[in-house]
Symmetry: C2
Subunit: 215 residues, 2 copies
């Protein structure tokens, strides 16, 4: 939250408190699974206090998702070390995802919403789609800068690499949560490390980064 977003009035503080309580419940239980009563219990507010800020469950879910997604995408793409090359910046972001894949209980809010809302809730789905586009755009910008600086091979397709990073990390997070093991995320990191080596010009490669077994 930037200074400009700090809640200043009591009403804004209550609103933030409701969002902070509702966001993990929606993320863990989904739209249909989380009830307004549970959210009310988690906030400690009276019913009137909740409905004054969010007249419907749909309204609350949308605002909670905006609140969560902005944080998720930021954490996954910032801060970047400007002294690193683009492939190393991507490695840093991938390593951060593998170590701390979610900023909120219940797994990745983008994936949860994409799965939960795909057939049932077009507004929530649109929010998830927007967050994924934002994430992808930021990765593509890093890759574009890397190509311009000669740190990434010029024939690389930025969109393909960005899609692969997001897909592999999200899928691996799903597997890791399902298996209650970090292996799938670590395996994804190692394979992505190899993919990043392959798009790095030979003259730019760090020999010590050969972590994967299949090169």
């Amino acid at each position: 939250m930037t200074t400009a977003e700090l809640p200043t009035t009591k009403g804004q503080q209550t609103r933030q408190r409701i969002l902070a309580a509702a966001a993990p419940l929606f993320n863990q239980k989904g739209f249909a699974g989380a009830s307004m009563q549970e959210i009310l219990d988690a906030t400690g507010l009276e019913k009137g206090g909740l409905y004054r800020h969010f007249p419907t469950k749909q309204h609350l879910a949308e605002e909670a998702l905006r609140y969560t997604m902005a944080r998720s995408v930021r954490t996954r793409t910032e801060p970047l070390d400007p002294t690193q090359t683009a492939p190393d910046q991507l490695r840093t972001l991938i390593a951060r995802f593998v170590t701390a894949p979610s900023t909120i209980p219940g797994g990745c809010p983008l994936m949860n919403t994409a799965i939960d809302a795909d057939d049932t809730n077009p507004n929530l789905r649109a929010l998830a789609r927007h967050a994924v586009e934002d994430w992808k755009t930021r990765l593509i910008q890093i890759i574009d800068r890397g190509i311009a600086a000669g740190h990434i091979r010029p024939e690389t397709q930025p969109r393909q690499i960005a899609n692969t990073i997001i897909a592999t990390l999200e899928g691996a997070l799903m597997l890791s949560r399902l298996e209650a093991a970090t292996t799938p995320l670590e395996d994804a990191r190692d394979t992505l490390d190899h993919v990043l080596r392959a798009i790095t010009p030979k003259s730019q490669r760090h020999p010590q980064r050969r972590r994967t077994s299949h090169q």
Copy 2:
């Protein structure tokens, strides 16, 4: 369905009819989102007819998921052409997933259940986990055979490659559904093609298979 599983009695036929109607509803709406009334409407049965076979929603969801998952894993790993090398068998399975990622409306039932049930329904989660293990084991067997035959480099870690294939395809399916576009799945296929080239001994590579741009 094998011949041994064919429903022979009227009761078994009704049971299959309920599962076939319930499976897509659970897959599209999730456990909490799909109601017994909707399922009842989809089957055209009386309430007593449904509850005679499945006394609870939980019971019905578990059986519907078993029914769906067995089909999904089979479709994703069979049949294999024994005249192909292991990397080409994996390419065939990947291409099949990219063309027809789900056997049922609502996206991948493994991912849907993994996301829907992760914090709320341990029995459904266990079924999804079992299906993923089954899929992974079948991929590892293909890779092991490839190593034994000299078609895959001996230092390859089969589990890492299997985890990467599953994670990348599942994550790409999520992105493709979210964006209503096939690009993420096609990008995943192209990157996986590159990963498979990297684990193939140089003497075994097909030069015409160089489809990706970053090699």
